[in-house]
Amino acid sequence: MTVVTYSEAWRSGLREEMNKDASIFVMGTDLQERGGHFSQVKGLAEEFGPERIRDTPISESAMVAAGVGSAMLGARPIIDLNFMDFAYGAMDEIINQAAKIRYMFGADLPLIIRATAGIALFGPQHNNSFESLFAAIPGLSVAVPYRPYDVKGLLKTSLRGSDPVIFIMHKKLTGAKGEIAGEDVFIPFGKARIAAEGSDVLIVTYGYSVEVASKAAELMKTEGVSVEVMDLRTVYPIDYEMVLQRAQDIGRVIVADEAPLFGSITGEIASTISEKLHSSLKAPVLRIGAKRVPIGANPQLVSASIPNVEDYQAAIRKVLTF
């Protein structure tokens, strides 16, 4: 298998599919020369030309509308917003248009909206958490891959599908390396995977938090605690079959991410597990999330806002005391 970065995995999947399907194109600011703010399409403009790697003005609303219209007409647009934070300028296009068109009109809408999100530097306006917002919208599916492997596989599935996809890539993973599969590997939405096997505590999470959870799992071994980490890969759909199966088997569950805890998608998952497995759980389902704060520019404030490995360890110990 080839080892590439998270960003390169995107490019790899994109290149393969663009070679096969002339209706796929990408639009966003500064894609052609710069390759996007995360180098996610670096080099592709040379390969596919400026028609298929299109530079746009700063017009997020028109960008997404262009995606909606061209997808209805039969093209396969990828709207690359660079930072998902800019999607706030296109919410009507995403939620009132893209998400509802199939329901209203019965039309295919093979539209992908890609951007990075997740907590990192750049201050309050570039560090919004979007998972619960988008996942809650009927009609949208939401990819939140952690590994380059899943970036590529989920992208390829999206490009063969006929429904709108919100594709959230984590800023801090941009340069992270990992294996990717070849041309023929597609990862379906709604299938979680076990990132680390364990038997005492289950952590259900996704995106960059898979890394934090895995570190915590590793550290807990020294305390003789075996922690399983589940990587959801998509937050809509959620692989409740696997979540509930493993939650039942293990009996102690933590649901974690780095969005502000109040109102995050962890509430959806934790409440579902609690309801369905009430009698078989050995402890209450705990949730891990960020404080209810905008993300400051200062790195110490950033760290203080979001959960760290120690917070995970503390939660693991806590869930074991019941």
Binding site: M104, G139, S162
Partner: protein, 326 residues
Amino acid sequence: MTEPGQAKDFLSQMILIREFETIAEGLTLRGKVPGGMHNSSGQEAVAVGVMAALKDEDAIASTHRSHHHSIARGMSTQSMMAELFTKSTGCSRGRGGSMHLVDLSRNYFGGNGIVGAGVSIAMGLALGIHILKKNSIAVGFMGDGAINTGRTWESINMAVIWNLPLLIVIDNNQYAVETFMDRVTGGKDFVARAKSFGMSAEVIDGQNVEEVYEATARARERILAGEGPQLINAVTYRYFGHNVGEVGKYRTQEEISDWKSNKDPIDNWISNLLAKKMITEDEISEIRENAKLEIGKAVEFAEASPFPDTNTVADDVDSGSLLRQL
């Protein structure tokens, strides 16, 4: 000058639209149309003139007030009326209602409940045409009220810089709900605005179906000749309130009467055709009769149709395509 066959078609269509909405208005007042509807009576010439100049392969996106566009595009009045009634046989299977009439087989990509959204989507349709190298244009309708939504200007700009095959038609009935356009529109000149963004634009008499048709045909040709996106500001008037049953003091009775008596697109077209002896009174009666018959059937069809099966409520939210193991 329009040839006689087409001239009569224009009239039939305008009369059919008027009849559809007159009947639908009454039915709405009687509670048959959940959520109400936006009557376009008075604006028929815009829809008919534009659609007549388009080809089947052209793609259209519209607004919340779009019965006239739908009929002029040739949509089945039965499936339209059924949709107003929110029946399962409606063009949107009862899910869209009056604001979301659609007919994908006619490249009519639907009405829209959000002001400004239709034009943006039409810009996207134009981009799709460009990407897929088709030989057609996209048309986006908007009201005068949409002229002050930011997305309209983002979309116009994008169409200009990419030279997209986009025609924007402003169904300019001069009011947005109860707001007169001049009160809320800096510069007051839609055409000047579009031109300053690099888009060719002209203002026309939206009550004159022939003028609308010709302007659209010209614009379409220019677009296909690579001269860039075009905008037509068609000045017109709506006779009824914004939504069914609404009356307001925001415009005078005189103003309304003036438009109805002196600028009605149907009456004027009839006078025109009569003067030129292109139509007879009998033919006109027949057209009116046919319209009545057709809309009568549409109502019957709508009445007789079942409401959507509530078991289908959660179907087609997405297609399930992403769940497949490929």
